[in-house]
């Protein structure tokens, strides 16, 4: 178990029992060419082109980049710079649905006969990225750097953010496929030990998972670890710590301690890409919070959030706000004409909080230090960040912050700690870049 973290009311009962529902084909999609860590994809289509569902519209531009596919069939009405939920802009392909459903026929493959390089290539061309939020290209993760060795593959089924239930539903409804995806991953990185980490509130999945292990075709040994409900249990570093007791060194990667971590939906996407030749063009997300019809929806990438909200009859009244992602790390949006991306896990309608509209000076209560899972000293860093002294912020290890939000959550003075730390990190990066 890791030190720190906070216990949150999970609000998962709102959408936990809603079956995954296929969202109807949207009228229009906006598909950003930069949905992942690394360089944006290079567009390979132009305005006026007719594309079919699953067709490549952007090619990976370098090693750390990803392929992008059209999620519907239709006509490209523009390739423009569009706003993303993060507030950044990205070149995006806008496709208008022409009412046809044209798909490439599936390619059935037996993964047991595929070499690791072939699997990595399939994953790369299917445009698969980490679907937990960071959207790191999965093919890069599967290519173990020389000199390193993976010992165990972890599947992250914690979903520790309140409200979100999409990973839970996927694991419940597609248990066999997810476990097969995990098997494919393990074969690719030649590891025969895997562990699925779930939080205690998903304990009902245990028999399902155990049953699915009977289907394992390789010599893989899978373990399920039921972890206490504590945010941020689903953080990669803390999941590794909880399961293997190893600490990823500061500035290092999980592979440095012999671990690789995958999200539930990423494993499913890998299985679909390898066994059926399906590129990553849809994902499951949770629509929850103060909304009339909470749902878990399978949505085409690029669908506009406004269209989804309309479908769930979610009006945003005064005093409510719309969040993309979870309540702890998600992004508040005002413009609803933004697209769903590969890393979008939820759309939430939450009440505005009066408490946080002003903040007070730090009273040094030390609660932020107690809850910080990275064991840095938010109270102290915030005092320097407030006066823009980035140098001391850096010395106090602000760079180790994972932006989980525990400190801001607990702070009795309601100081926007994480906001300052993000800013500090960006400024430090800028200074390093300029020498």
């Amino acid at each position: 178990m890791f030190k720190g973290g906070v216990h949150l009311k999970d609000f998962k009962e709102i959408s936990k029992n809603e079956n995954i529902e296929g969202f109807p084909y949207p009228k229009k999609v906006v598909i950003p060419l930069s949905q992942h860590t690394g360089l944006p994809a290079k567009p390979v289509v132009k305005k006026g082109d007719i594309v079919s569902e699953g067709q490549v519209i952007g090619e990976a531009n370098g090693f750390i980049s990803s392929f992008i596919h059209s999620s519907i069939s239709g006509k490209i009405t523009g390739i423009e710079n569009c706003l993303l939920p993060s507030g950044k802009k990205s070149l995006s392909v806008i496709i208008e649905n022409n009412g046809e459903i044209k798909k490439n026929s599936p390619i059935y493959r037996d993964w047991l006969n595929l070499k690791p390089e072939e699997i990595i290539n399939i994953v790369r061309e299917a445009g698969i990225v980490g679907m937990g939020g960071a959207a790191f290209p999965t093919a890069v993760k599967l290519s173990i750097p020389p000199g390193k060795k993976a010992e165990i593959v972890l599947l992250n089924g914690c979903e520790c953010e309140p409200y979100l239930t999409c990973d839970y539903r996927v694991l419940k409804e597609s248990t066999f496929d997810v476990v097969e995806g995990l098997e494919i991953i393990c074969k690719t990185v030649s590891v025969n030990k895997a562990c699925i980490g779930i939080e205690k509130n998903k304990i009902d999945l245990l028999p399902l998972l155990k049953k699915s292990f009977e289907n394992i075709k390789t010599d893989l040994k899978i373990d399920v670890k039921v972890l206490p409900e504590k945010y941020p249990q689903g953080s990669e570093k803390h999941l590794i710590k909880s399961i293997t007791k190893r600490e990823v060194p500061s500035g290092g990667l999980p592979i440095d301690v012999g671990c690789i971590v995958f999200n539930i939906q990423t494993a499913l996407a890998i299985k679909k890409a390898v066994c059926e030749g399906q590129p990553l063009i849809e994902r499951v997300l949770t629509v929850s919070g103060f909304i009339e019809k909470p749902k878990n929806l399978r949505v085409k990438i690029g669908t506009l959030i406004s269209e989804i909200l309309e479908y769930c009859t979610g009006k945003i009244e005064n005093g409510k706000k719309c969040i993309i992602g979870g309540p702890m790390m998600g992004i508040n949006i005002i413009d609803k004409e933004l697209p769903v991306m590969k890393g979008t896990s939820g759309i939430l309608i939450l009440p505005e909080e009066k408490l946080t509209q002003t903040y007070q000076p730090c009273i040094r209560c030390g609660k932020c230090i107690e809850v910080c899972p990275m064991r840095i000293v938010p109270a102290e860093i915030s005092r320097y960040a407030e006066v823009e002294n980035w140098k001391v912020c850096n010395q106090l290890n602000v760079g180790d912050c994972i932006e989980c939000g525990c400190c801001s959550y607990i702070c009795p003075a309601k100081r926007p700690l994480v906001e300052w730390f993000k800013w500090a990190k960006a400024e430090i990066k800028k200074q390093i870049a300029s020498g």
Binding site: F2, K237, I323, M328, M329, Q360, I363, P373, M374, R375
Partner: protein, 307 residues
């Protein structure tokens, strides 16, 4: 115009006001008992102290053109704590003056809540003790107002001056039936309040326990009565309510333990060898100065950092 809010989008309900309110609630039992033992005048002292602190805070924030932030209740906490460390028959103008100095000089001149170096209530007491040494050391026995009061030495003074007076029993000291400052005498009531704060996780055990254990251990080593030293003077009030003041004590648990041990050492040193019979006030003030230094050397090992 809607404003974009930054993550996280949910927050705990705890605010500075709720924390301060809890501290006020925790201090109420000891306050009631002090009025019971030391009469209506004790209540007057508490009310004058709170009023003076609150008004001084408003004045300071007005003079320094800051937002008036009385609603954080911190001035009320200082007011109660300041009254608790005063003798039971102190003239009221001194109370008012002390309250003003605590807030204006010790707290607001250093930047207000979160920025003061010294515990305001204790620093206020230290200033008064230097300014009015006679009035600040005139103690009265419990129920003095009924028996036409004559001054009476506190248990620690009796020990220090090797007086031939009889000491109160340990039981009397536990419930608070002894001479002393208003709020410090009833250990029982202070412990009730402290338990409340510990359970609500407003304070942690680190400072009070390391503080009290240090005093106990030193009493044992130097062949003193351990229970007497824990119950006497302002140790319990100081350990649970003064030394745990967030602003002036270290941030980390490791630092808090160092802080507590330091307070214990100095308290015992003053009690045994100092010019004053009691050392809690100066021990905590002295350790307040060391807080930034302790903080600097007690940072936790970051996740994934070198062991």
């Amino acid at each position: 115009m809607e404003k974009i809010r930054w993550a996280p989008h949910i927050h705990s309900k705890e605010t500075i006001s709720t924390i301060m309110l809890s501290v006020i609630i925790a201090l109420i039992p000891a306050g009631i008992v002090s009025v019971y033992f030391f009469g209506f005048y004790a209540l007057k002292i508490i009310i004058v102290s709170i009023t003076s602190c609150v008004l001084s805070e408003i004045l300071a924030q007005f003079v320094f053109r800051k937002k008036i932030k009385i609603y954080d209740l911190s001035a009320i906490v200082t007011g109660i704590l300041f009254a608790f460390v005063l003798p039971p028959k102190i003239p009221l103008f001194m109370v008012a003056l002390g309250g003003f100095l605590s807030i204006f000089l010790v707290k607001e001149l250093f930047g207000g809540i979160g920025f003061n170096i010294f515990n305001p209530a204790l620093a206020g007491r230290a200033i008064l003790l230097a300014s009015f040494p006679v009035e600040m050391t005139e103690f009265y026995p419990p129920f003095y107002y009924k028996i036409d009061g004559i001054t009476c030495a506190t248990p620690l003074v009796i020990i220090k001056e090797k007086m031939s007076l009889s000491l109160p029993t340990l039981y009397q000291m536990f419930i608070g039936q002894r001479a002393g400052c208003l709020g410090e005498t009833s250990v029982l009531c202070l412990l009730i309040g402290a338990t409340f704060l510990l359970l609500r996780r407003i304070i942690s055990w680190h400072i009070p326990i390391s503080y009290i254990l240090t005093v106990a251990l030193l009493s044992f080593i130097f062949k003193q009565n351990i229970l007497f030293h824990i119950l006497a003077g302002g140790l319990i009030l100081g350990a649970f309510f003064m030394a745990t003041d967030y602003v002036t004590s270290p941030l980390t648990n490791k630092g808090k333990i160092i802080f507590g041990i330091g307070c214990g050492l100095i308290t015992f040193l003053i009690r045994m060898k100092g010019g004053y019979p009691e050392g809690v006030c100066y021990a905590i003030l002295f350790m307040n100065i060391l807080t930034p230094l302790i903080d600097k050397y007690s940072l936790p090992r970051k996740f994934g950092g070198k062991r």
